[in-house]
């Protein structure tokens, strides 16, 4: 809490006292990142599956792996990234002030964030929706039975606004218990200070499997909102946004084409021209257009695998969280994940 206020204040000081950050023209952010030697990636302070620290002290998660891929694309080294834990309340301020180069913090893409907050969303890396988790012994099976409930909610999120709208639409009352982050919500929920905890369904599943007795808890079936999550950067540096966007797209295309972390070296003789462009094994060097090395996307995919592998390792069966691919499957497999062509 002190920390979050400090972050906001220091961001303001950067804006007030700092030198003008953008001189226009070529990607200033990319130059800054290269000069610094590492990427500053804003992630969640602890969202199981998306960004956590494992037993050996290593950052892991779905958002973490995206940043590693981006770092690999720029430096050829997936470890050349520094993760900055940000609460939901300070994330945009930190990004706007240049404390991070990119924000990959399960952040919902909305109109006002895109326009009023002056951010550029790079795409959607996870199609999510807001859900509710309750204890089974509460005897609730639908969100419509939650009239009068006390609800734990993270401050400064879209879920907070959806919650207000949803209860109002359905003529129900509730009492919000605001919390700073996922960990605090979880603690309040377990202590019984609230009847239900609401946030993105993916985070609920991630939280649930890490509870002491996951079977005592239930994620209610209703999804009350669309939450397209994705990485984002500041307005004003289109080249930097392009880099981030196309690293994400490269991971999605890789899954579509069947390029995995382990078989990535075996595509040299393929007749598919897009794969050659993607992996930099062909003649044209189209990645020079954004200031990346020819094999940037090769390195990005090599870092943590394609989109599907990253999903499986962090959110799917391998991770123990067991989230189904659902709409997040590739369009070739019945999902809505679809990348523009790499050409």
């Amino acid at each position: 809490m002190r920390k979050s206020l400090f972050m906001i204040l220091s961001s303001i000081i950067l804006i007030v006292g700092g030198q003008a950050a953008f001189s226009g023209g070529h990607s200033v952010t990319l130059d800054d990142v290269k000069a610094r030697g590492n990427l500053l990636c804003g992630v969640s302070t602890g969202a199981p599956g998306f960004a956590t620290v494992d037993d050996s002290g290593k950052d892991v998660g779905f958002d973490v792996d995206y940043c590693r891929a981006l770092a690999a694309a720029i430096f050829g080294d997936p470890m050349a990234v520094k993760f900055v834990g940000l609460t939901s309340a300070v994330r945009f301020t930190a990004l706007a002030a240049g404390e991070v180069d990119i924000l990959a913090r399960n952040t919902t893409w909305t109109y006002s964030r895109d326009t009023d907050l002056k951010q550029t969303f790079l795409g959607v890396n996870y199609y999510d929706g807001q859900g509710f988790m309750v204890k089974k012994d509460l005897g609730v099976n639908s969100t419509l039975e939650l009239d009068g409930a006390t609800v734990c909610i993270q401050v400064g999120t879209t879920t907070e606004l959806n919650l207000a709208d949803y209860f109002k639409e359905n003529g129900m009352s509730y009492e919000p218990v605001p919390t700073a982050d996922n960990a605090e919500s979880q603690q309040q929920y377990l202590a019984g200070a609230c009847d239900t905890y609401t946030t993105d369904a993916s985070a609920l599943h991630g939280t649930r499997v890490n509870l002491e007795n996951p079977d005592d808890h239930l994620v209610l079936p209703e999804i009350i909102s669309k939450e397209p999550l994705g990485p984002l950067v500041r307005h004003g540096d289109d080249n930097w946004a392009d880099i981030g966007r196309w690293v994400l797209n490269a991971l999605i295309i890789a899954e579509e084409k069947g390029i995995t972390q382990s078989n990535i070296d075996s595509w040299k003789d393929t007749k598919d021209a897009e794969i050659h462009r993607l992996l930099g094994t062909g003649d044209d060097d189209i990645l020079a257009m954004v200031g990346l090395p020819k094999n940037a996307m090769y390195n990005a995919i090599k870092a943590g695998g394609n989109y599907g592998e990253i999903f499986e390792n962090n959110l799917g069966a391998t991770s123990g969280i067991n989230i189904e691919r659902g709409v997040n499957a590739s369009w070739t497999k019945g999902g809505i994940l679809y990348s523009p062509p790499f050409r």
Partner: protein, 405 residues
């Protein structure tokens, strides 16, 4: 005088602004002022430029837009359809509530602990020392989280009150429920005629005060003592009670009851409010206790000895001789502790209490992305409140200072 006054025929030269002691002071002040103004304008200009580069402008219009979020504790009507400005006001009132209640509790507690620490009873004095050192030397944020954890972990959930054989029961004839979401009290309901009863009661209070003054005056003039205690009680109770029943019980109590997930009706003191207020009050009271002790010890021992040689009992000495004099020493540092408590209340988000830092400086800031504007408003608010508190207490202090004639 004549020798030191400057010769009138001396011509003014520009270098004299710095070399001549008559002008140096002023010119240095002017230079400093110019530098200060220049730096200030550079900061403002740079801010606006950088914001423009980010594509942002400085605008306070967001205060008039729909907020879209709910606030649990609101002293004025507010819903998610209200504006961000109103949300800020709700937060401001919540901050002021915590600050006011916290200061009152801290003062009372601090006074007691400070006096008891000087007690001749070894155990009492040591206990109070432990209290002071314990609260004073641990960061207040930890106390807030600690009190909140105690309140939520060791109290039953509303569910425990349910069923034929509930695990928890309400206190005081089913009127007060202590739960892990807060404590529910019966709320007074004012029906028609209620204001007459309140009016008469206030009149009775004034009557008692006048009676006390009159008796004191009589005592000073004639030396006769009238016991007023029973009469005062009678004045306080009978007129308003008789009116209360004559008007057909216009004031009734609304009891909290369990429905669905939570208790409904009654007054709900949330654990976030209780934890924040209690922790701030306990923490600040430790500082106030030390101030009180210092104030009392600063009064010469001769005062106590003189008073006891007049035959006054120890509690009379404290109330009539020591405390009135000690107050003059106590009040100024007390102000800074009140200010500290008010400013420390911005730690509210640690327990999810929606003070102005939580609404304007938290959710509104985040949903609208107006960091600079929100922070400026927030700083302006805390500045105003602090200046207001210190001016009020300074006024009080001036009226109690020893007047040197």
């Amino acid at each position: 005088m004549k020798a030191s006054s400057p010769p009138t025929d001396e011509k003014f030269q520009i270098g004299m602004l710095l070399s001549d002691t008559r002008y140096r002071g002023t010119s240095l002040q002017v230079i400093t002022f110019i530098i200060f103004v220049a730096v200030f304008f550079w900061l403002v200009d740079n801010t606006l430029k950088n914001l423009a580069l980010l594509g942002k402008d400085v605008s306070f219009n967001f205060l008039f837009l729909r907020a879209g979020y709910d606030i649990n504790q609101r002293l004025i009507p507010y819903s998610s359809d209200s504006t961000h400005g109103r949300a800020a006001v709700v937060g401001i009132l919540n901050t002021l509530l915590v600050a006011f209640v916290g200061c009152v509790i801290a003062t009372i507690l601090g006074l007691f602990v400070g006096i008891l620490r000087l007690s001749k009873n070894w155990l009492v004095a040591k206990l109070m020392s432990a209290y002071i050192e314990g609260f004073r030397n641990v960061p207040v944020l930890l106390w807030i989280v600690m009190v909140f954890a105690l309140l939520t972990e060791f109290t039953p959930a509303p569910k425990a009150f349910k069923g034929a054989d509930p695990q928890a029961t309400m206190l005081f004839f089913d009127s007060v429920a202590i739960t892990n979401r807060g404590t529910y009290f019966p709320a007074p309901i004012f029906n028609e005629g209620a204001y007459w009863v309140i009016f008469i009661f206030i009149l009775s209070v004034f009557a008692v005060i006048f009676l006390k003054r009159y008796v004191n005056k009589l005592k000073r003039e004639t030396g006769k003592d009238f016991p007023t205690f029973l009469v005062s009680i009678a004045i306080l109770i009978f007129p308003s009670t008789i009116l209360f029943f004559a008007l057909g019980s216009p004031i009734s109590l609304e009891y909290p009851y369990l429905k669905g997930f939570n208790f409904r009706d009654g007054i709900h003191l949330r654990n976030s409010f209780l934890a924040l207020t209690l922790a701030l009050a306990l923490y600040t009271s430790a500082f106030i206790a030390e101030i009180v002790r210092a104030g009392i010890m600063a009064i010469s021992k001769g005062q106590t000895e003189a008073a006891s040689s007049l035959g006054l009992r120890p509690n009379k000495i404290m109330n009539l001789i020591i405390l009135p004099q000690a107050l003059r020493i106590i009040v100024p540092p007390l102000i800074s502790n009140y200010l500290n408590l008010t400013k420390n209340s911005s730690l509210a988000i640690a327990v999810g209490y929606m003070d102005v830092r939580g609404t304007l400086g938290g959710i509104t800031l985040n949903q609208t992305g107006r960091e600079l504007e929100s922070m400026l408003l927030l700083m302006g608010f805390y500045l105003c409140v602090s200046l207001l508190i210190s001016s009020v207490i300074n006024y009080y202090n001036r009226s109690f200072q020893i007047v040197v004639r």
